[in-house]
């Protein structure tokens, strides 16, 4: 993943999860948060999705939270693809939340550091449990 120049503050993100409970990014301050924007119709998004769960399992919940923000789809469509996942799936039905983030295409992924700043970004699919990405995240935890 690429460092975000100037590490600006992360845009707001408060969305319902698949059970309708709202999660606010600001409540996760003190942990790393990986925010992944995706859709079920996007082939690279589907391909990388399992690696988000594998990444979450490599870290303690107090260290890293993985938020998979689905764009524009309903809970039934999402659940039929994702099933039971280790990551938190949020629903951005009207894409209003995504428009506040510097998203240039799907999938787009950002890492918010423990101080709530955008530290890393990636456009296009990745294997998030790749050793290089895991090392980047462990490095951010040490800051």
């Amino acid at each position: 993943m690429t460092a975000v120049p100037g590490t600006p503050g992360a845009p707001p993100l408060a969305l319902p999860d698949i059970d309708g409970k709202t999660l606010d990014l600001s409540t996760l301050r003190g942990r790393l948060v990986l925010v992944n924007f995706w859709a079920t119709w996007c082939p690279p998004c589907r391909r990388e999705f399992p690696s988000l769960s594998r990444l979450q399992r490599l870290f303690k919940p107090a260290e890293l939270a993985v938020l998979a923000v689905n764009v524009g789809e309903d809970a039934e469509t999402i659940f039929s693809f994702a099933g039971a996942s280790d990551v938190t799936i949020l629903l951005d039905r009207d894409s209003a939340a995504m428009r506040r983030w510097p998203v240039k295409g799907l999938p787009s992924t950002f890492v918010v550091d423990r101080k709530g700043r955008l530290a890393l970004r990636a456009v296009g699919g990745r294997e998030f449990d790749d050793a290089a990405i895991v090392a980047q995240l462990r490095g951010l935890l040490r800051l």
Binding site: C42, P43, G72, S95, G105, A122, G125
Partner: protein, 180 residues
């Protein structure tokens, strides 16, 4: 190396996700100094089925499906930032100079046609965006349509800026998918 294998797998998955009619069309590849471009003509039936499943009516999506639609994939395998603008892309050769109809123009059309929000969201993010900046390692896919259908095969020139220096990649012998 693992990331590269993942990209290859993702590309194969993306191609496999397209209907058979789209796969029969000839993709063209171009590479230059670590920048890779792939263009795949999309069959009308493939375009229709994708957007009908996203909430478009057949009537609303007809002008897009009738256009010369292509799927593009661009990878930045360099260590420098890559920038490109869809408005700069042009056909050449016997087809003459044809630009792309930008996503913003299509979105104006969806407003006129009263297309609903979820379908428009899917449309917006399924397109190759008008302006893109790729960090090292980034890659992206998206659809785009030519402003008019060329007669026969055409050459496509894709200018880009790599670390503030201008370059271009040319794809030869591209053709729109045959009507189906």
């Amino acid at each position: 190396m693992r990331a590269h294998r993942f990209k290859q797998l993702a590309i194969l998955l993306a191609i496999a996700a397209l209907p058979a009619a789209a796969q029969s069309q000839s993709a063209r590849h171009g590479t230059r100094d670590g920048v890779a471009v792939k263009a795949t003509p999309l069959a009308r039936s493939a375009v229709l089925s994708f957007y009908l499943a996203r909430g478009f009516s057949a009537e609303a999506i007809a002008p897009y499906a009738d256009a010369c639609a292509l799927s593009f994939e661009v990878q930045n395998n360099t260590k420098k930032p890559l920038r490109l603008r869809l408005a700069d892309w042009r056909t050449g050769g016997a087809a003459g100079s044809i630009s792309f109809r930008l996503p913003e123009s299509w979105e104006d059309e969806w407003t006129r046609r009263g297309v609903a929000g979820p379908a428009r969201i899917a449309f917006r993010w399924a397109q190759f965006q008008s302006e893109l900046e790729f960090a090292p390692g980034d890659w992206i896919m998206g659809m785009a349509t030519l402003a008019r259908r060329p007669d026969g095969a055409f050459r496509l020139t894709i200018p880009y800026t790599l670390d503030k220096r201008k370059h271009e990649i040319t794809l030869d012998r591209l053709a729109c998918a045959a009507a189906d």
